[in-house]
Chain length 240, copies 2
């Protein structure tokens, strides 16, 4: 079956010099227009204060003409997701977010809605991590223990959000981001897309494209990495 | 029962401008002398190449007069640990290390040897993380899924190795280390000791002391943080 995917995976919700989500406005509006979205269902579980977090997103999206509702306010989560016009899964702590999705038994439901019904999905940072096959490539501190690192698998590869190069000349001896990602590849033999702040991945069915004005760095399953320019077609990563 | 602890927990095995373990030589020798240690049993599971990793440690410690053996070369792990004069658990990936300790069923055994027999324990980075109550405050990427984040609990608090301040003026929008540690505290209500590179914690029975020439930053269970000077007695952290 051809997937009904209609997905936007952002590296981050903030970009230096821009307001909250502002850098992604065109990409968000393009996604929402494609499905005539008027109301966005926000999934706030990656942060502690769900109400405040939903208000932040509302303050960003309402001036652009979208209503925002918090999933945490819905008495029937299944009904809310089945009726949603679009969902936005916000960033915060990836471990907390995934644990909560498991606790609320939402993974199969969200997966089904996105892959079969074509529910538009926007993820940012942790919300991007959980959209991929697993959270093994999150940058977050493991403050919560989820029952598995396996995630929604809306796409079959891993993403590292907030990807950045090692600081040149740093005296710090902790591992660099590249070393950590190479370690993941060495253990799993799977690709990881390092997604710099301000960039994103747009998935429509079986087509995936890099968006934004910076390159993404693809860490290959066989080792090594390559820079991919904005607008590159990365549909090959959708093939398992 | 008074604990027989004889422990040295290093933030890192490397410090800018020094050779491998060189910055910690006096602290290591002090620990080893206290128990007339001639041979150190090295636990190399945090990195992939156990043989090469053991050779690195051997090259550092042999010139100082210590033999180094790799636990991975021992046919009977239980016997090796029960007969060991000291163990050194090296850094690498904390998730891989803890998962391996669980797979080999070594946690209870090591805990018993350290707390009851007084087996000298040296940890560095990931080896320090697994010595504490849990690995919730590791900086590492979760490339492996251990059956729990609970660890050896040789000390009842958490440590963040390679602790460093946020970069002033950074344009990066990912979370800072302090934000991550404050998040842990918010979820768990437990203290974390941010241990800068080059510093360490020495535990002798019920006494714990900060070593090194930089302050450590204690994130308090009730929120907030304080800087603790070198040589500060932090035995209060040993009380559960």
């Amino acid at each position: 079956m051809v997937s009904a995917r209609n997905i936007l995976l952002l590296s981050s919700s903030r970009l230096h010099g821009h307001g909250y989500l502002e850098h992604a406005r065109v990409q968000l509006e393009d996604l929402f227009k494609s499905a005539s979205v008027k109301t966005v269902l926000f999934v706030p579980y990656a942060l502690r204060d769900h109400e405040k977090y939903t208000a932040t997103v509302r303050n960003a999206l309402e001036p652009w003409g979208y209503n925002v509702e918090g999933l945490h306010t819905k008495p029937d989560l299944e009904k809310a997701l089945k009726e949603a016009q679009a969902i936005f899964v916000g960033g915060g702590n990836t471990f907390v977010l995934l644990r909560t999705l498991y606790q609320l038994n939402l993974l199969d439901l969200i997966r089904e809605q996105v892959l079969q019904r074509g529910l538009p999905y926007v993820g940012s940072s942790a919300g991007t991590n959980v959209a991929t096959r697993s959270i093994h490539t999150t940058n977050d501190m493991p403050v919560a223990y989820p029952p598995s690192f396996e995630a929604l698998a809306l796409v079959p590869f891993n993403i590292n959000p907030h990807y950045l190069e090692p600081e040149p000349g740093s005296q710090h001896k902790g591992e660099t981001r590249d070393e950590r990602l190479e370690e993941f590849v060495a253990y799993h033999g799977l690709p990881v897309l390092g997604l710099r702040e301000g960039t994103s991945v747009r998935v429509q069915g079986e087509k995936a494209t890099l968006l934004g004005d910076r390159c993404a760095k693809l860490f290959k399953p066989i080792g090594g990495a390559e820079e991919l320019a904005p607008q590159t077609d990365i549909s090959f990563l959708l093939q398992k």
